[in-house]
């Protein structure tokens, strides 16, 4: 019993080490890419930003508007009318500090995380990683590093859009439903929307993006030779990404927002 538990602990530590190692290598390769292979790696980066960021924009926008509506409705139903400033404050606390980065990252995991894991595992099983290596192009430089930074960039940018849409969408609902004036609402919003809150939100989304991309790449490359391992890798990538998101969110909240 204890041995099995210890084995699991060791496996988790090794896995975390691999993740951090992959992220460290990505930063190292990023610097190396300035000297060698910058153009193709940058193309992969742009493509990843396009697929993860631009193509997800619509779903992020709709989700953010709905979340803003739900949060405002809950606040008004609890606090009642005359709580316009509080409404603005609470939506910043909930959306900017917590839900914005978290929900954006969850949507990215569901949409792009699976795609990355499936694509990389398919490439590995099809021998394409070897094809790249045979050309003297390390997969870590050409496939992994641009994907990690592409996803991280997309998550940060999408988080900004999410937060703007949720705060403005919330105001729209509050204004139409309960005639909350903009002055009162915005006063509440800007009284708590400090640079440190914004910075913490963006830093959190950056961490989420980096870890999600690293997990999905790691799982994608972990397959053997059977195509049945592709869906398994995608499932593992999603589950581990979600788990790590909540862990990072909890740790981040403890250290930065308390």
């Amino acid at each position: 019993m204890l041995t099995a538990w210890l084995e699991k602990m060791v496996a988790a530590i090794v896995y975390l080490y691999d993740l951090v190692d992959m992220l460290a290598a990505a930063f190292g390769n990023c610097l190396a890419a300035f000297r060698h292979g910058a153009r193709p790696a940058f193309n992969v980066y742009l493509r990843q930003v396009y697929f993860t960021g631009l193509e997800a924009f619509k779903i992020i926008l709709i989700t953010a508007l709905l979340i803003g509506t739900v949060v405002i409705t809950q606040i008004v139903s609890i606090a009642g009318s005359g709580s316009e400033a509080l409404t603005g404050k609470v939506i910043v606390w909930i959306v900017v500090r917590e839900l914005g980065p978290l929900l954006t990252a969850i949507l990215v995991v569901a949409r792009s995380g699976t795609a990355i894991a499936a694509e990389l595992s398919q490439m590995k099983i099809g021998g394409e990683i070897d094809y790249l290596e045979s050309l003297g192009i390390p997969a870590a430089n050409y496939l992994i590093m641009p994907r990690i930074f592409g996803v991280a960039t997309a998550v940060v940018v999408l988080t900004v859009y999410f937060e703007i849409a949720a705060v403005l969408g919330g105001f729209l609902v509050a204004s139409l439903g309960w005639h909350v004036p903009w002055e009162e609402y915005s006063h509440g919003v800007f009284s708590v929307l400090t640079l440190s809150v914004l910075g913490a939100s963006l830093l959190k989304s950056l961490l989420f993006g980096l870890f999600v991309a690293a997990i999905c790449c790691l799982q994608g490359l972990s397959v053997g030779k059977s195509v049945t391992q592709i869906p398994q890798a995608a499932t593992r990538a999603v589950m581990q990404s979600l788990f790590l998101l909540f862990v990072v969110d909890g740790v981040f909240s403890l250290f930065f927002l308390l």
Binding site: R39, G126, Y131, S134, L135, G136
Partner: protein, 220 residues
């Protein structure tokens, strides 16, 4: 005579036992193996993607055992391998696949890359689309693009892994003509055809043909 490639008493898994082979510099040769998996393994060994259980592999004067990743990457830039599928990357279009090593390794301008890329495609006689993904190409077209890409990096050693297998006679003849012309372009270039089917290499103007496990009669 110095050698472009040597396998010395190489044992790897169940597929290779005490395999020895030497490819002299500048020669055009063929190795006929008993099965394709053996060729795939030899390619992995000579690229340093797998290590042998015993024996040594030496490519272009570089002993692979203990070579650093940096050394291996530098060596792979001097070696081209044509894989049975053509070796194209599935999520890159034909043109992107073709010029990938040029864009990655060389600081050419876009105009120069375009000119070199089009010239290489013309040399192999590729007449298909440049904007399609590889899955929509025929096997022959994928191999044509693979050969054109290999030509672009001007390798000192080029390995054709089952490149002629599965092609029609006309396609085989065209592929052989392009490969031989590329081989003769530089006196220093070594070319090695690997196949499990000796029939496919019978029309090659070989300098050397190596029997493996007695399955093929040597003929120089």
């Amino acid at each position: 005579m110095p050698e472009a490639l040597t396998f010395e008493q190489v044992t790897a898994g169940d597929l290779l036992k005490d395999f020895s082979y030497a490819l002299p510099d500048g020669s055009l040769a063929a190795v006929v193996s008993s099965r394709q998996e053996e060729n795939d393994l030899k390619v992995r060994l000579l690229l340093g993607l797998s290590a042998p259980d015993a024996g040594s592999v030496c490519v272009l004067g570089q002993e692979l055992a203990g070579a650093s990743e940096k050394t291996l990457i530098a060596l792979r830039r001097r070696v081209a391998v044509l894989f049975p599928t053509g070796g194209l990357i599935s999520n890159l279009k034909v043109w992107e696949n073709l010029v990938l090593p040029l864009e990655y390794h060389f600081g050419y301008s876009q105009a120069e890359i375009e000119q070199r890329g089009m010239a290489a495609l013309a040399r192999v006689g590729y007449a298909g689309s440049l904007t399609e993904l590889p899955w929509s190409l025929s096997l022959y077209q994928r191999r044509q693009v693979g050969l054109a890409r290999a030509m672009l990096i001007e390798p000192e050693l080029i390995v054709y892994n089952a490149t002629l297998d599965g092609l029609s006679q006309g396609e085989q003849a065209a592929m052989i003509a392009a490969a031989v012309e590329f081989h003769r372009q530089s006196g220093q270039r070594s070319s090695l055809f690997m196949t499990p089917n000796q029939e496919t290499v019978k029309d090659l103007p070989l300098d050397r043909r190596t029997p493996v496990k007695g399955s093929f009669t040597a003929h120089d």
